[in-house]
Amino acid sequence: MEPWRIVAVALLGVLLCGCATESYFTSDSLNRAQGKPRILVLPADVQLYELSLGGMLEPNAEWTQSARSSVNQALTAQLAKMNVSFVAYAPPPEDSPEFLEVDQVQRLNRAVGSTIQAFHFSKPNRLPSKHDRFDWSLGPSAAILRRAGEADYALFVVMSDSYSSPGRQVFRVLTAAAIGYLPPGGVQQGYASLVDLKTGEVVWFNRLQRGGGELRSAEPAAETVAQLLDKMPK
């Protein structure tokens, strides 16, 4: 086998291996002092794309629709196995002030989520003031979710996934055969973040990134969700 083929196969191996998630936490267990911890599960933010032959990511409506429901179902099922109480999110009416407040917390969570990825997961970017500690919080505003859902923790899940179009699949195989370079296929990435609603502290943050995984149908979606929640504090 020529050297570049070995490199391509090795790269593929890295993408497909089980080491797809990376986790940081402030505590490896949930607070069970008052019995089963209650976890409010916010609707997962899921977006699926089709990777065109030429490498463009195009949002795919049907896939996304189906992934949104299978990821949310898998989340409930997975939490049930973890001996915690699941609290479904009931959004306040859209024109109420509570809706805007909850919306703000969700926006804040997205901002904190991308900051954690940029400034904690990327080690060279770590902020000197954090002294390498995993120390992030949504602040006291997270308590709004506690009132809305009677819960101790909130779980946020953001996932995106992309899949090679039929044209891209043919192109990848033929390109690998012709010049020995395997053009990249789809990538699955996302994160789960667990927030203590008493303090606003991000207790656990898990990032998933891999070339495999499948969210378009229910069973493999459950596998992805299991991967995502695998290291969650028990």
């Binding site: 089709e50 032959l53 030429g54 463009m56 195009e58 049907e62 055969a177």
Partner: protein, 399 residues
């Protein structure tokens, strides 16, 4: 035949096969040509199996965020007014469109395939008349009706497919200088994508012109808004002229000239065009002027303020912010100039009470305490609940 030859043939044959089936067969979602799209009809929604549905779905998500956005202007009169202009232009499409006025000081508006219509305050501040706002919204409606977003996505897909296949083909054939050839391919494809975009802009200009004229707006204002933007841009010291080759839009000169000639052919409307712009944006114009000052683009903002002064609506408000522009720049002599504008503002219609305060503060700094106190007193009389009342009163003590 060597193994490499075989794989080259297989590669070419395989991709040609995909090409022959029509590029539609290369995607999982249903797609079609970029180049002969029918108009969106009123009430139109794409089939969920199509690439177009993907665009709509991601825009629905953007719209959900826009609904609760912190920079959304919630003044009901302004939103109703924008919807009213839009409905005059879009007539039977009106129920498909939803208006969002956003507090963003740059000149822009967008009507997206799902009907979400975003209008920046920077457009409302720069426009001279309702007809100018209508010209811009009419243009956006042109993009919407002709489904330009979908056409662009498909055009980019087809071209990136071709470039990708060709560059692997070049590499597989072992052509010397393959890197250079591939860069040229990419540049060439990019140029055609941009040319396609400029074609869309011309088409949108043309549709925008038709619908605004048909709705009874002054067709001369379609070209005039571009003239106005060019005048503001020319005041800038920076050289930010768009390049003909790499620009997404045609040059403003070309757009202005084309639209002006169309208006000359059509003539003025028989009835005066509706123009409620100034009264309706009045409650937020002070805010928009302050946002403009905060942009830190002194020359352009000064030119804009001079145009607004020439327009003649609530000049005092504009003069006050022109004073702020100079005070904030704070070069040699700027304070004296700012003082002049504050004085003019106080004498003109529409000045905020803060103009009185600024006359007082600048005079105080310059040692003219008696006159300063006089203006500060007038400020507190005009605005008894001023947030800085206590501080101002400390200046008045010891008189």
């Amino acid at each position: 035949m060597s193994r490499a030859d075989l794989s080259r043939r297989a590669f070419t044959a395989g991709l040609c096969g995909c090409g022959l089936m029509g590029l539609g067969a290369c995607t999982a979602h249903q797609t079609g040509s970029a180049y002969d799209l029918a108009d969106a009809t009123p009430g139109y929604r794409p089939d969920p199996k199509t690439d177009e549905a993907g665009i709509w779905q991601s825009l629905d998500k953007v719209e959900a965020e826009m609904r609760t956005a912190g920079n959304r202007v919630r003044d009901k009169a302004i939103n109703d007014y924008m919807t009213d202009i839009l409905c005059r232009l879009a007539s039977s499409y009106c129920p498909d469109l939803r208006t969002y006025v956003l507090r963003i000081p740059s000149f822009n508006a967008g009507m997206y395939p799902n009907g979400m219509t975003a209008i920046n305050t920077g457009l409302l501040l720069r426009a001279r008349s309702e007809s100018q706002v209508a010209a811009v919204l009419g243009h956006e409606f042109g993009h919407f009706r002709r489904r330009h977003s979908l056409a662009r996505m498909r055009d980019m897909r087809v071209k990136s497919d071709i470039v990708t296949v060709l560059s692997v083909g070049v590499a597989a054939a072992g052509v010397p200088g393959a890197g250079g050839i591939n860069n040229s391919l990419m540049l060439g494809a990019n140029a055609t994508v941009l040319a396609f975009s400029r074609e869309h802009e011309r088409e949108a200009d043309s549709i925008g012109f038709e619908v605004m004229a048909a709705a009874g707006y002054d067709p001369f204002e379609a070209g005039a808004i571009w003239k106005r933007l060019m005048d503001i841009e020319e005041a800038s010291e920076e050289d930010n002229r768009p390049d003909v080759f790499t620009s997404t839009h045609p040059l403003p000169e070309e757009r202005e000239e084309t639209l002006r000639k169309k208006a000359e052919a059509l003539g003025r409307p028989a009835l005066a065009a509706p123009n409620r712009l100034h009264e309706i944006i009045a409650p937020i114009r002070g805010l928009m002027l302050a946002d403009e000052v905060n942009l830190g683009t002194f020359k352009r903002s000064e030119k804009l303020f001079d145009l607004l002064i020439a327009d003649g609506f609530n000049i005092g408000e504009v003069l006050y912010h022109k004073g702020e522009l100079y005070r904030r720049r704070n070069r040699e002599g700027d304070e004296a100039l700012a003082l002049g504008f504050y004085h003019q503002a106080v004498e003109a219609r529409g000045a905020p009470p803060e103009a009185l305060r600024q006359v007082g503060m600048v005079r105080w700094r310059r040692g003219d305490r008696e006159a300063a106190r006089e203006y500060l007193r007038r400020y507190l009389n005009a605005k008894p609940d001023a947030f800085d009342r206590d501080m101002i009163q400390s200046y008045l003590k010891g008189a």
